[in-house]
């Protein structure tokens, strides 16, 4: 190999600020094949969009030199439904149905971001109980989503049992969400002004019963997957996203905190009931897949802790402010963001004073994680690709929107 090809294969260049002007990201570069007549020709593997480990319909073009990835290009758009365009034709109370189909396994948080944005343009005081119910729904939804990630991440690394146990706990939580909102996944529960319905009688006891066993189950989950030597060998030191790379590629959520950056929207820009809750923000150190695993497992513990506090301290009062049947926020432009399961979900909302949003931009954190894959994957072995994708917990619904 000559010196030029070594430079071409360098990874992590962008994040360290040493990149040359006009040099594309590492993942987009095409390394020369057979430059000295001895190396084998590179092979381009088309992975996805119909691939079980791509968590939806992610397509990655992976260029390999033997077993080693030398370039990767992420191709998305297979699930584009035009959510942002459709929102311009929906009334404000109906946009939540679209956002549920963005990040479709944790829709509550996107609904909440939209409600927070809309309320900035309305003269409305959201009742305290609505804030608490919003946080309760969000945290339950966060655990259901993390359990899916836990199960499928284990599948990516070659495990099977953890998926079944994870689904068992998730079913119990989906029953609770169904009792609370009327739906198991497509909620449209959090609306501008409050939430759709109050907590039904007896649900608190059901949630307490779940919390009574969940900490122990979580220990078992952690032992089953995290305690497995093979799993540890697959994830430790793999897919390192250091602090500078995470910031350069706009990562948020567990992917950012896994790199040790202490930023959680619930703490940094408190909303709903979070200012009144006692919780910690778990952080990683190296930014590898193992750190991201540990951060998400710890986040589930913190969410369970918050759910206990929310049930114990649930205030009395109305769950919905008095809002007009047809909402017409005043004209203006606002931005609201929340800490969703996968990072910072943001809504950039422009209103022209009519009953439909003039423009709604939906920032899905997974889009930023997906584009960072182009920088992270080169230099790894082909078998690590599925583990790294799984560790970033991307959701194609919110990438493609």
């Amino acid at each position: 190999m000559n010196g030029g090809s070594e430079e071409t294969l360098a990874t992590g260049v962008l994040g360290e600020g040493r990149h040359d002007p006009g040099t594309p990201p590492a993942g987009l570069r095409r390394a020369p094949a057979g430059v000295d007549g001895l190396t084998t020709e590179h092979l381009i593997i088309n992975m996805g969009p119909q691939h079980p480990s791509t968590h939806g319909v992610l397509r990655v073009l992976v260029e390999v030199d033997g077993e080693e990835v030398v370039a990767a290009e992420v191709s998305v758009g297979y699930l584009h439904r035009g959510i942002e365009k459709l929102a311009e034709y929906r009334r404000y109370d109906a946009v939540g149905t679209l956002l549920d189909r963005g990040d479709y396994i944790s829709g509550m948080m996107a609904e909440l971001a939209f409600a927070l944005a809309t309320e900035q343009l309305m003269d409305v005081e959201v009742p305290r109980k609505a804030h608490w119910l919003r946080s309760l729904a969000s945290e339950i939804n966060r655990i259901t989503s993390h359990l899916i990630w836990y199960g499928t991440f284990g599948l990516d690394a070659g495990g099977m049992g953890q998926f079944l146990y994870g689904m068992r706990d998730r079913e119990a939580l989906l029953d609770i969400l169904e009792a609370l909102s009327g739906s198991r996944m497509m909620f449209n529960y959090i609306r501008p002004g409050g939430v759709l319905a109050d907590m039904p009688t007896g649900l608190d006891a059901k949630i307490r019963a779940f919390l009574g066993t969940f900490d122990q189950y979580l220990d078992e989950h952690d032992q089953l997957l995290g305690g497995n030597e093979i799993f540890q060998a697959r994830v430790k030191g793999v897919g390192v996203i250091d602090r500078s790379t995470a910031l350069a590629f706009g990562l948020t959520g567990s992917n950012l905190r896994g790199a040790g950056v202490d930023f959680d929207v619930r703490k940094a820009r408190p909303y709903a009931a979070y200012p009144e809750l006692d919780f910690e923000v778990p952080l990683g150190t190296n930014g590898d897949a193992w750190d991201r695993y540990n951060v998400r497992m710890a986040e589930m513990r913190q969410s369970a802790r918050m759910i206990g506090q929310l049930i114990d301290g649930m205030p009395e009062g109305p769950h919905m402010a008095k809002v007009p049947r047809i909402i017409r926020p005043r004209a203006g432009e606002v931005y609201a963001s929340v800490e969703s399961t996968r990072g910072e979900t943001g809504i950039h909302l422009v209103s022209d004073g009519t009953e439909h949003p003039y423009r709604m931009h939906y920032r899905g954190p997974s889009l930023f994680a997906a584009q960072a894959l182009e920088e992270i994957l080169p230099g790894h072995l082909i078998a690590d690709v599925v583990v790294i994708i799984g560790s970033t917990d991307v959701m194609l619904g919110e990438i493609d929107r």
Binding site: L14, G15, H19, P21, G22, P24, P25, L28, E73, V76, G77, H80, G82, E84, K85, L86, Y89, Q120, L121, S244, L247, A248, F249, G250, T252, V261, F263, A268, G332, E333, V334, Y335, E344, G346, H348, V350, Y358, R359, H361, R363, L367, F368, A370, Q371, E374, E375, D400, R401
Partner: protein
């Protein structure tokens, strides 16, 4: 948290036509299209290490671009706005902020503008021939039109 408008003004002092104001959205710096990269470079040098969002709005007359920048170390956020004509060309800012790579592609295809200096200026979400869907002159089909297909 919001930075002081005077601080942002000082950063952009060398750019002709740059204005800074605090509005409902936050602190907004409006700069001419040709000076976007220079403005973002100056703001990045001041510690705003991450571009957390980028999108475009069809105002009915032109496309308004919004760059949302954040400094995690200073805990500050600022928006940079600029405008481009329909079918116009914007210079990619990926060199300053690699997180703009995919959002720029998305904005270009959905609002019908061109990208210059982008390492991979392909469509992101739709296929060739699809209209710029987020333009106001592109309407979605009615139920009747869909049924009639």
């Amino acid at each position: 948290m919001l930075p002081a408008t005077a601080d942002i003004k000082r950063l952009l002092a060398a750019i002709d036509g740059a204005t800074v104001a605090e509005e409902a959205l936050g602190v907004i710096a409006r700069v001419p299209l040709a000076a976007v990269n220079e403005a973002l470079g100056a703001i990045k040098a001041a510690g705003y290490e991450s571009l957390v969002d980028f999108d475009g709005i069809d105002t009915g007359e032109l496309i308004e671009l919004t760059y949302r920048l954040r400094s995690f170390s200073l805990d500050l956020e600022v928006h940079v706005k600029s405008t481009v004509a329909y079918g116009g060309t914007i210079e990619s800012v990926w060199y300053e902020y690699p997180s703009a790579l995919m959002p720029e592609r998305e904005t270009a295809e959905l609002l019908g503008i061109h990208l210059a200096g982008h390492p991979n200026p392909k469509r992101l979400l739709t296929t060739d021939g699809v209209e710029p869907l987020l333009r106001k002159d592109v309407a979605i089909r009615t139920v009747e039109e869909v049924k009639a297909r």
